[in-house]
Subunit: 410 residues, 2 copies
């Protein structure tokens, strides 16, 4: 007879292959620091602008008008009125017609990505992933046993020439990737946006080589001066591209609601493999109401101004305090500025030193699948209070100087 003491051993013996691959560690987004720190760390939205009033209005409208439908099962594709609203809004944003059967609603884009992995990935499959990249998605691919092949970025986004090279090299080994993962707009963490020419070539490669592109567009709507080039999805003609999107950055991360656009037969496979009986009709209809009322588009327009002003403030402060030690490309939107430190200044040491001085930054190595040393820091300008940005950058400059002078001394 087994007791508590033996149970953990029993459990180990019962685990699936995936559970053994993923291990016991629970992955979590950056936790709030209990100290009164200034945070450039988490990729989190601006707090004061969270649209609580709009949400409350939409809840009231939905419970008055469609109480029954909002409080009943809505199906595995997600609530129908939200799919309709998303298809209409996406047709406008993407510039190509999007049909309802190309839309599936997910519990945030992280869930959309995982749902696609369920449909595609077995242990040992190859996934091409631009590098640096969002660690949460890389963790998901790995949890399915995928082998990640890193493709470098530059100021124009994914190095598509390096994709071709990787395809040829894999081919020589008798292998092909199933999936290529990219964040083409205002990339996390590098802030860059993929050029139109590269987008067109990448779609062509997917069709030539028979793999799928997973286009993560969490930040695409949050452009500052002009919209980014057409999406890979829009350029694809309806095949080979799955685009995951999220209401997290344009409404609230706490909704856990996103949408995926893709070829209808693939979207059907995603719906078929789900075991959660679909995303909340209540939440979904609330967001559909925010789309229909125009509240969402007005809010997105407001957010563009908020994040542009925060970025400008950060760049001013960087020019004032940090110029001798670093350079950066101005992101055209999104949440992140990718700061390259002068050679010889260790980014990890700067992140630690900055933490001691009460400013949190992301050390670049965390965004490389192989954790390689890099002289980059990720600065999120999205979450921090506007008034704290200058002081945060000032403290960061002091941290950089401290590390630089230590390096000179050694």
């Amino acid at each position: 007879m087994e007791g508590t003491a033996d149970f953990e051993a029993t459990l180990e013996g019962l685990l699936s292959r995936r559970a053994r691959i993923v291990g016991p560690t629970v992955w979590a987004a950056a936790q709030p620091d209990p100290r009164p720190v200034i945070s450039f760390a988490g990729g989190l939205p601006d707090i004061p602008s969270l649209p609580a009033g709009e949400l409350e209005r939409a809840v009231r409208a939905v419970l008055e008008r469609e109480r029954k439908e909002a409080l009943e099962y809505g199906g595995t594709y997600g609530p129908y009125p939200l799919r309709v609203a998303v298809a209409e809004r996406s047709s406008r944003i993407e510039g190509v017609p999007v049909a309802v059967d190309q839309v599936i609603i997910s519990s945030g884009s992280a869930h959309g990505i995982g749902n696609l992995c369920e449909v595609l990935l077995d242990v040992g499959d190859v996934v091409l992933a631009e590098s640096p990249n969002f660690p949460g998605s890389l963790r998901t691919f790995r949890s399915f046993g995928a082998e990640l092949v890193a493709i470098p970025l530059d100021a124009d986004g994914l190095r598509v020439d390096a994709v071709e090279e990787a395809l040829r090299q894999l081919d020589a080994e008798g292998r092909r990737p199933k999936l290529l993962y990219t964040i083409p707009n205002h990339q996390n963490p590098a802030g860059c946006t993929m050029s139109l020419a590269r987008r067109e070539r990448l779609v062509q490669l997917a069709k030539e080589w028979g793999f799928l592109i997973l286009e993560d567009d969490a930040y695409g709507e949050l452009w500052f001066d002009a919209p980014p080039p057409p999406s890979l999805f829009a350029l694809s003609g309806g095949t080979h591209v799955v685009k995951v999107n999220s209401f997290s950055k344009i409404i609230a991360t706490g909704l856990r609601l996103g949408w995926t656009l893709g070829p209808a037969p693939l979207v059907a496979r995603m719906a078929a493999i789900r075991y959660d009986m679909g995303t909340s009709p209540f939440l979904g209809r609330v967001v559909a109401e925010m789309i229909r009322s125009g509240d969402l588009d007005r809010h997105v327009e407001r957010l563009r101004g908020i994040y542009r002003r925060k970025l400008e403030r950060m760049e001013e402060a960087l020019r004032r305090y940090c110029a001798p030690y670093c350079r950066w490309e101005r992101p055209r939107g999104g949440f992140f500025l990718w700061l390259a430190l002068r050679e010889g200044i260790d980014a990890r040491e700067v992140a630690i030193e900055a933490n001691h001085r009460g400013v949190l930054v992301g050390a670049g190595a965390a965004f490389f699948a192989d954790g390689r040393p890099t002289n980059h820091l990720r600065l999120a300008f999205s979450y921090v209070d506007y008034e704290d940005i200058e002081e945060g950058v000032h403290r960061l400059a002091e941290a950089i100087e401290a590390v630089a002078s230590r390096s000179r001394g050694s």
Copy 2:
């Protein structure tokens, strides 16, 4: 270069093993019939009592008091205040102390079940499942490639002697199950409740043989005269049992929110393997508010009365119109009455005939993993309007008579 025409072939070649197992068919709960029918088909809650007012109040309270926390990420275990509220409420209901680290929040119990499958199941693993059973869960086990072994039920629930027999038989083949799936209270579809003696013996077997019990308790709180015996979870001493629960039947299916209780190390594995960044903090905090305010407990008490009256009405009508043709055991709670037709009356034919006459019932065969012929119908008394129950049973009686007279004629 591939075009749209070739894409479906490409997609087939890219599918994961699980996607091929589960196939392209999207599973959905029973859809509403567009005709003015009376439905005893779907396991859906009573509509007029859906607590929209309570929900709206809770939304307002949460957005006023904890706007920031409700609209930010809440972690992979689910929103903390809901876990605390569930742990406290469960300690009271289960009669044993439940700690917060034994609680994980899911997108409905269907998601909790799938999440557990991710942690445990590889292709070819054995799952014991009581039979008849809820087809949605069986579909999930199968989608992970599990081999289902059916264990029969009787009026006292799962035949635990048959579990022992199956364990010995598997052992003779050198195999062991990883999981046993049971709905011990007001079972779906059979309505029965497992006796205390069987519960105790089943927990003992799990400890002796080293498998886990998945206790699905979607209907447990909806008892009519007295609460069911202690749960398998409560009897287990904290090991070998995972209990999935849902707010679907006690608040609304449209929330997609449930909770799972289990041994802390197993719950941690469930949190670790999730890729969705946790269940909605917004929704979760709204439900936590409904728990804290007492609204949920008051609502559950009200529902017990509503469903008891609906069952009583159904039994009266069955005695009046159907008595010569069938028998049943009165369920002690839940949504379902499991009607055994007199031998020689084909249940599937009755379901079709009833459908023609404008009353929808569940043909028993749908609830057996092997689709075996059975003379049972599942009558859900939960969703139908109280006033329509008598007329629905009357039509059902006519359908039974029509099939019976055809059988006599043939």
